[in-house]
């Protein structure tokens, strides 16, 4: 199957090209087919590849396909090449499969929009770029996908381009991630200069053989790549763009800003895990960023009133978990959480899209309530998603993946109590904010207007059912470590991602790490019920009106002032510079020579104004001077 790898990204590229060039002559039905079919076909190819990969694993544990040598300058010869190993395979399957489901949903969801063709063209461009990103065998080719997803994300956030706010959000997303990308590019410059290749596998092998454990250059390279990763994955301190990115259509939020693109940073770090294994410092930084982000975003999610922003902060928080896993060298645990998260978070966003549609474009959860009775199907789907997000034990996929991370945060040889504690507190926050949404939106009394739509077409609901099924059963491929059952996922990933060393621990430890997160997540649901479900107005209201809490809630709502800080520290000085520099001071300085030159010219012109008496006077003066000089010598 390795000769058809190119088809996987090429099919969506083709869909994009056809829609761009010929789409204006097409009807909506044709556009829908050409928009969604490539992702489906790519998913089919990916599944076929996966089957052949599993049935007859290649000797190298990877399929490689070289398309062509991009260019060759001396020893520098990057290639347009695909590399498919278990890591890429999981990413590819998720991107194509979840992408296809979301496109199916969109065919009906976006039907009334005037930009129907544009939407599908951009979505195809996104899927193609994402597939290039995860399949690229060369760092330089990876950048094509990396920036391509940035571009499509920009286009889709600003999809409704007439609103200035959407444009600002789109711009912010692109620029902030581009800050990270620049770090990534410098990291690649360093890697090439030191190792002489940008072939990913080659560079990783060279790093392993040439760089010592803890070498400064490895730390520098790892941290620079991490800069790119935190930009794309919206981790502290580059997380500010993601909540605003919710300005795009909801399917975009589901696919790009939840399920796939924002996890590109996780993929990048997992892909270059060799560097992070060489550098304990870089790994620690990743773990700390992950832990800090998951707490930060968890608290922020709790304060949001816009249903999509709440989910966006939740995404940031969940990617924080993945970073935490990466930081303790639990590479495959991070990817496992990516897998389950893609399903339940996409499900949550798609459900939120229907809630918003039902409420006639109302995003504010304070104006919802009681929707359980009006849109029961959406309620059930949302509930499944929220349960998976909260990692309710046994019945959800999120339990298995998050439990693995929290467990390894303690038991991995690179883990520690503080990281574990952050994971546990985060688990409490997660179920608290998830079920805050559930209770505020679907329970209680109706607080806003009545729903305008209560029935949704099958093409919208079925993809969500598929996602819901994934959110429930996917976890069972990997049982918690202490159950001593099977660990299919980790075993499958083992050829690409090494398994972290585990600290030996007693039975008590085992119980602690398995039971505590489970108890905490259930407790979070109960707490949410107490605060927001049972006696909602009384308790939650009284909480927020206390002065300390009001300040806290305001700060959390605003994402703890990062936007403000960046505005004051970066945006405003830049605008000031641009505004005052508009007239190009350097040019004025250089052109300023023209003034004195003209004055000098004017002065000299005076000497030749054609008046004879001045000439005579000057001549006479000259003679006097010469004579005087001659006499005085």
């Amino acid at each position: 199957m390795q000769h058809v790898l190119w088809l996987i990204p090429f099919l969506p590229v083709l869909g994009f090209a056809v829609l761009v060039v010929f789409g204006h002559r097409m009807g909506r039905r044709t556009i829908a087919v050409i928009g969604a079919a490539p992702a489906g076909a790519a998913a089919a190819v990916a599944i076929a590849t996966a089957v052949s990969f599993l049935v007859a694993p290649p000797a190298t544990h990877a399929y490689d396909q070289v398309m062509w040598t991009w260019f060759r300058i001396g020893a520098f010869a990057p290639r347009i090449a695909f590399h498919l190993d278990p890591l890429s395979l999981v990413m590819t399957l998720v991107v194509t499969f979840v992408g296809f489901l979301i496109l199916l949903y969109s065919t009906r969801f976006m039907r009334g929009d005037e930009g129907y063709r544009r939407f599908f063209a951009y979505m195809d461009l996104f899927i193609a770029s994402m597939l290039i990103l995860v399949l690229a065998g060369d760092f330089l080719f990876l950048l094509v996908g990396w920036e391509g997803v940035g571009l499509s994300s920009f286009l889709l956030i600003g999809f409704w381009y007439r609103e200035r706010a959407n444009g600002a959000a789109a711009r912010k997303a692109f620029i902030v991630t581009r800050v990270g990308d620049t770090a990534l590019l410098v990291g690649l410059l360093l890697i090439f200069t030191k190792l002489g290749t940008l072939d990913i596998q080659g560079a990783m092998a060279a790093a392993q053989s040439q760089w010592a454990q803890g070498a400064a250059v490895a730390t520098a390279a790892a941290l620079l790549l991490m800069g790119g990763a935190i930009g794309k994955s919206a981790q502290l301190p580059l997380q500010t763009w993601l909540p605003d990115a919710m300005a795009g259509p909801t399917p975009v939020s589901a696919l790009i800003h939840a399920a796939t693109m924002v996890t590109a940073g996780v993929y990048l770090i997992a892909r270059t895990h060799v560097l992070f294994e060489l550098s304990p410092t870089a790994r620690l930084v990743v773990a700390v960023i992950g832990a800090a982000t998951l707490l930060y975003a968890g608290v922020s999610a709790l304060a949001q009133n816009d249903i999509k922003r709440a989910l966006a902060y939740s995404t940031i928080s969940q990617i924080g978990y993945m970073f935490l896993a990466l930081g303790v060298a639990a590479w495959s645990a991070a990817v496992f959480h990516f897998l389950t998260h893609a399903f339940f978070k996409a499900l949550l966003f798609l459900s939120a899209g229907l809630v918003i549609k039902a409420m006639d474009e109302e995003h504010d959860i304070r104006k919802m309530g009681g929707l359980r009775r009006d849109i029961p199907v959406v309620f059930r789907l949302f509930l499944i998603g929220a349960a998976a997000l909260s990692a309710l034990p046994l019945v959800t996929a999120g339990f298995f993946s998050k439990d693995l991370i929290v467990d390894l945060a303690l038991t991995s040889v690179h883990g520690g109590v503080w990281l574990w504690l952050a994971g546990v507190v985060g688990a409490l926050l997660t179920s608290l904010y998830s079920f805050r949404l559930v209770f505020l939106v679907f329970f209680g009394e109706r607080r806003g207007s009545a729903p305008v739509a209560t029935r949704f077409p099958r093409l919208v609901v079925w993809p969500m059912v598929a996602l819901a099924a994934g959110s429930v059963v996917l976890g069972w491929i990997e049982l918690p470590v202490h159950w001593h059952g099977w660990s299919l996922f980790t075993d499958f990933m083992a050829s690409a991602l090494p398994v972290p060393g585990i600290r030996a621990g007693g039975l008590l430890d085992a119980i602690a790490v398995t039971l505590i997160p489970a108890i905490v997540s259930v407790a979070g649901v109960y707490l949410a019920w107490v605060l927001f479900g049972r006696r909602r107005p009384a308790v939650a209201g009284s909480l927020v009106t206390r002065p300390g809490f009001r300040w806290l809630a305001g700060a959390a709502l605003a994402g703890w002032g990062f936007d403000r800080l960046y505005h004051v520290a970066l945006v405003r000085p830049f605008l000031w510079l641009a505004h005052h520099g508009q007239r190009d001071w350097i040019d004025r300085l250089v052109s300023g020579i023209a003034g004195p030159a003209a004055a000098l010219g004017g002065l000299l012109r005076r000497t030749q104004d054609g008046r004879l008496r001045y000439y005579l006077a000057a001549a006479a003066l000259g003679i006097v001077v010469f004579v005087a000089v001659g006499l005085l010598r």
């Binding site: 991009w70 300058i73 520098f76 600003g158 007439r162 040439q210 508009q582």
Partner: protein, 518 residues
């Protein structure tokens, strides 16, 4: 003799076009287009004929000893008493520049198909005169001959701005003239100085490039001579702080003029650095290496910030040129194979991406009657095809991977990194600022509200206009996905340039690493 035809075709074509304009303006346009295309055909033919020479083994011994990376077509005495010869030759680099010249001139003819009605004959004569003198610049291997073409070029460009420009054209043209003339005169002094010093040292008084290369003049004499060349090329490129003429000239010229200025004229500066400045004075150039790289970085950032702050669309695009040419200066002074290939790619890609943006500005001005960005907005709804083209060009300008500019800029940064890490790192910040101005441009012009309130629907794009954009898109995609065609063409040329200037030698990135591995 084909190199002579590259001079003769545009010049004769220009005269025929001028004469033809007496009968019909259309005939004049067609003649101009045909001569540009004929020149292009000839250049492409030469390229195809010599393509096999460059990819294979690169000459190893001295600079221009067999097998040569370049071919000499004409070398006859012109003023033998002074050692001046008519020496025309071309290598891969020259051919790339020649092909670029004729493509851009053809595009310029297309761009002014409807816009230029006044004195169309003279206009097309000027376009082709510019083409001929540019072709001369890129083929001259005699310093005197080079200077002759270098100055000859100034006349058509000056007239293009002053006769067919916008409202502030006189001031812009005079500024342009003074800047370039000042630089040119300093270079003339240096050329003459080099001629005499070299003559006194060796006994042969000659302007022949191949004999003057790596002249071994060092110390302050060499530095001063080098600075004369530096002044001329830094003005043309332009390098900050000598860029002042560019925003005025680019924004005041008409579309064809801007395309020609951005696509070709400023590339003469880049070509001059590559072909003349460093090979003639390697030691002196290496003395100012870090200053020049600093100027390059300053240009990258300053140009980008300036671009962001402009309100006139053409002025904005003009400042992006300053930023992109900063990369060229950076790469030239990094002086290794990777950086030089990046520079050449940047020269070509910038011509198409920025040329395309100037055409975009022209198309918008024809339809809206304004270049003020504030007066645009919401155009996507009415001109979505143009919006798509604009999006593409803007993405090329900000260096989106997969398009040519990305390859060019990352090669330059890669080449720079092994020479000066701070320069490479600070230069890469330009990618952020370029993102800011690029997104700003596309959003202010095409997005936002306001599309509906304005009366009337602007005319759809004509096939001629679409053709120009498609040419730019095809070239940028091609150079983004398979730049090998171009890199192979200039491989031997850059190799020999590197060997002419051993004093500038810099580590080739990644090579030490590969040597370390058995």
């Amino acid at each position: 003799m084909s190199l002579v035809f590259l001079l003769a075709i545009p010049f004769a074509g220009g005269i025929v076009a001028w004469v033809a304009a007496r009968w019909s303006a259309a005939a004049c346009r067609w003649v101009a287009l045909a001569s540009a295309v004929a020149g292009l055909g000839l250049a492409v033919g030469l390229w195809a004929q010599h393509y096999h020479m460059w990819g294979a083994a690169v000459p190893s011994r001295s600079i221009y000893v067999e097998p040569v990376p370049f071919f000499s077509e004409l070398d006859v005495p012109w003023i033998p008493q002074a050692g001046i010869r008519l020496h025309l030759a071309a290598d891969g680099l020259s051919l790339v520049m020649l092909m670029l010249t004729f493509v851009i001139v053809a595009v310029a003819v297309l761009a002014s198909w409807r816009g230029v009605r006044r004195r169309a004959g003279l206009f097309h004569f000027m376009l082709l005169w510019a083409a001929a003198s540019l072709a001369g610049v890129f083929m001259a291997f005699d310093l005197f001959l080079f200077y002759f073409f270098f100055e000859l070029m100034l006349i058509p460009f000056f007239l293009l701005v002053v006769l067919w420009g916008h409202e502030g054209r006189r001031r812009a043209a005079i500024k342009f003239f003074i800047y370039t003339q000042a630089g040119g005169l300093l270079m003339l002094i240096s050329i003459v100085g080099l001629y005499f010093i070299h003559g006194r040292q060796t006994g042969t008084y000659t302007f022949d490039y191949l004999q003057l290369v790596n002249s071994g003049i060092s110390g302050w004499t060499g530095r001063l001579l080098m600075l004369g060349f530096f002044a001329a090329f830094a003005v043309k490129l332009p390098a900050v702080p000598l860029h002042g003429w560019l925003p005025d000239a680019h924004s005041q010229a008409n579309t064809a003029g801007s395309v020609l200025l951005a696509g070709l004229l400023i590339k003469v500066g880049a070509y001059g650095f590559l072909r003349f400045l460093i090979p003639l004075f390697p030691q002196a150039a290496s003395d100012i290496r870090y200053i020049a790289m600093g100027l390059g970085v300053a240009g990258i950032l300053y140009g980008a910030v300036m671009a962001f702050s402009q309100t006139d669309l053409k002025r904005m695009v003009a400042y992006t040129s300053v930023s992109h040419m900063g990369f060229v200066l950076l790469g030239v002074f990094a002086w290794n194979q990777i950086a030089l290939q990046g520079v050449i790619l940047q020269i070509v890609c910038h011509a198409f991406s920025t040329g395309g943006l100037f055409i975009l500005a022209g198309v918008l001005e024809e339809r809206l009657g304004t270049r003020d960005i504030g007066g645009m907005g919401g155009l996507w709804a009415r001109l979505s095809t143009l919006g798509g083209f604009g999006m593409f060009l803007v993405m090329a300008a900000l260096g989106l991977p997969g398009l040519g500019n990305f390859v060019a800029e990352s090669l330059i940064l890669l080449g720079t990194f092994s020479v000066s890490r701070p320069a490479a790192i600070v230069g890469s910040l330009g990618l952020i600022v370029s993102t800011i101005y690029a997104l700003w441009l596309v959003q202010r012009v095409f997005h936002g509200p306001g599309g509906e309130s304005k009366p009337g629907t602007p005319a759809r794009l004509a096939p001629r206009e679409i053709l120009m954009f498609v040419v730019a898109i095809v070239v940028l995609l091609w150079l983004g996905l398979y730049p090998q065609t171009l890199i192979r063409t200039t491989d031997a040329a850059t190799g020999s340039l590197l060997r002419t200037a051993p004093a500038m030698q810099s580590p080739e990135p990644g090579s030490s690493a590969t040597e370390a591995q058995p």
